[in-house]
Subunit: 382 residues, 2 copies
């Protein structure tokens, strides 16, 4: 297996892009990544997307994206792992380049969610859960996460406001990210007064959907001579039961633990070496659980990191430094690629007021379903 | 890159399985492949599927399948390339094993299509085409193929009945395949009298949809000692424009030509070395176009092979030897895996009355969209 480097990144602003189609967004992000990489072609195209078939009446995104980005002809597929699709697409592209099958790959995550009524989007999001044993019972995807959060609060004695720092940090960081959907500073009071969605999850616990696309250009590391290189030091995927009810303990992200442990092994690092961690804060509860599964906090103590001010850009473990899912936005199939784009920005030192000083090792973790698919990547600057 | 062998195969009968869910079908095929391989675990799960999100309200098939087949924990994703999803999943699993990333992989194609009204299935099938520039104009997926067939007949002077041998051969072969959906011998008269679907495509030009799952178990070839081995000698994917209208010539499957040529190169063979060819006969016209693009006939002369009796099990180029999409059935995301399962059966000599004598080199070609994604695999027995 060859070492792989990320040579180019691209992204669109996340918003309700009523004037741009799925293909427009894809082309915008892809061309930005190609330009950033200084390349005009790619050996293959790997598209991360969850719901284009449901919401946009469009499958077969591989050739569509290859066609419209001028990369027509070669390998091109779509990879779906629900909200984890972006990282799954990266992992597919990575294997293709690492194996020697391709000499370059363009990885694109895209989701166009705001053209349909919210009830349709809610139904589409629920396809990430178990249709026969969860959704059939009437639970939505937010509802599932609410059950987990409620149980966590009960088991460990936290109050709702203890989760506020995750949302406040994300919003504060997004103020400095021109690609973020929300540019709105929030306070603990805002957080507590926000409208309820599915108790105990209120609007400021939850990440907003959005339309957006992000892209990465991959090449073999040994094809780059001189200068700074951003290397993919680890890529690891793990899965858990699709239904939360089948897990012995819904408060521990087993797949996060497994994929993270494997990623640490591959990269030869531990939690103490991670300078920046773009985690999957679809809901504030997920920030706590991810931090715990990845070794940054004891079980039931993830919220403590927020309360102690350890998650900001200069804290012990900076998270959601560009706004995270919470404020940058969560175009579901694109999110995993946005996360890696943001880690690259940190390692390149391009993050302005939310730059983590001298960031050299960054981690991104993308989650599909309520913990069913979890994929961890570690990047290193050298 | 390591050479990869197919150690196990599994499949379900294709039918309207109103008593079996998507997960039931998947488990049945997966367990059959595991049993055939003599294995109980797999390093990763690669699921080919097109429309579960639309028709079954279920995405995130990777962990779902891994969970329910007892392969919980590792890599698991869904790959979509419309009707070419099955071969795309095989190609993903192949890269994972060939690269050394995984030491085994279970590839599963599954589609559960018959639980919804036909108008919904028709709409779902149309997501393989260009939503904005084709489907928006009112054309269905059958309609697109009808335009191609009409033009082919006009350009090359063929009559509708000249396509009959493709359907007759497929139906004759399916009589001996217990997994096939249709067991019904047909004649030229039946073919000509069949009800019109989208002129000139009538019911017997078109493949039936269905519910089904098929599976392959992959291992590194060098892990097998002694005995007969079925090797994956080539895997190649190519894409064309998503919209047929953007092609200079809709009567030539450029992506079939490209992927086939690359597959021949990898395997060190030519058309004359192929003992059996499982092609993508979603409509009779596609059989002609595939035979032409892959070097078995001159342009415009593909139908000649049928008329001359060259496509039967003892003909010059045996195709659809287990019934093809036409009579075995076309559960879209599963089809590409069924094709490879059938090539393995031929190379193992398990095909009874439709066995190709001493088949040693077999090819499978899977098409997504009206020629947008085309993936070719060549297997060898040694």
């Amino acid at each position: 297996m060859r070492q792989v480097a990320i040579l180019g990144i691209g992204q669109t602003v996340i918003d309700e892009h009523w004037d741009k189609s799925l293909r427009d967004l894809t082309v915008e992000a892809a061309l930005a990544a190609l330009q950033d990489a200084g390349r005009e072609t790619a050996g293959g195209v790997f598209v991360g997307n969850m719901m284009s078939g449901i919401i946009n009446d469009q499958n077969n995104l591989g050739p569509l994206v290859a066609d419209w980005t001028g990369l027509r002809g070669g390998d091109a597929v779509k990879i779906d792992a629900a909200c984890g699709s972006g990282a799954a697409a990266l992992r597919s592209g990575l294997m293709a380049v690492a194996s020697g099958e391709l000499d370059s790959a363009l990885v694109i995550g895209v989701e166009k969610m705001t053209d349909r009524p919210m009830r349709e989007v809610t139904a589409a999001l629920a396809t990430a859960a178990d249709a026969d044993y969860e959704v059939e019972m009437g639970v939505s995807f937010v509802g599932l996460n609410a059950l987990i959060m409620r149980r966590y609060m009960y088991e460990y004695g936290w109050q709702h406001e203890d989760f506020a720092p995750f949302a406040i940090n994300a919003h504060a960081n997004a103020l400095h990210n021109p690609y973020a959907r929300l540019h709105q500073k929030i306070t603990v009071e805002d957080f507590e007064k926000s409208v309820m969605v599915a108790t105990p999850i209120n609007l400021l616990d939850a990440s907003p959907i959005g339309d957006g696309a992000a892209a990465l250009y991959l090449v073999p590391a040994d094809s780059l001579r001189g200068g700074t290189r951003i290397l993919v030091a680890a890529s690891a995927a793990a899965t858990d039961t699709i239904g939360g009810h089948d897990r012995p303990d819904m408060l521990f992200l087993t797949a996060a633990y497994k994929s993270c442990r494997e990623a640490y092994r591959q990269a030869g690092v531990g939690p103490e070496d991670i300078d920046v961690f773009e985690l999957h804060d679809a809901f504030t509860i997920m920030s706590a659980l991810s931090l715990e599964a990845c070794g940054f906090a004891e079980r039931g103590r993830g919220v403590r990191l927020g309360l102690d001010g350890e998650i900001g850009p200069t804290g012990r473990i900076p998270i959601t430094t560009r706004g995270g899912l919470k404020a940058r936005g969560h175009p579901v199939g694109a999110t995993g690629v946005y996360q890696v784009v943001e880690v690259v920005q940190q390692l390149r030192g391009e993050c302005g007021p939310t730059q983590v000083p001298d960031a050299r090792v960054g981690m991104a973790q993308n989650i599909g379903g309520s913990g069913a698919t979890i994929i961890t990547h570690i990047l290193k600057r050298e």
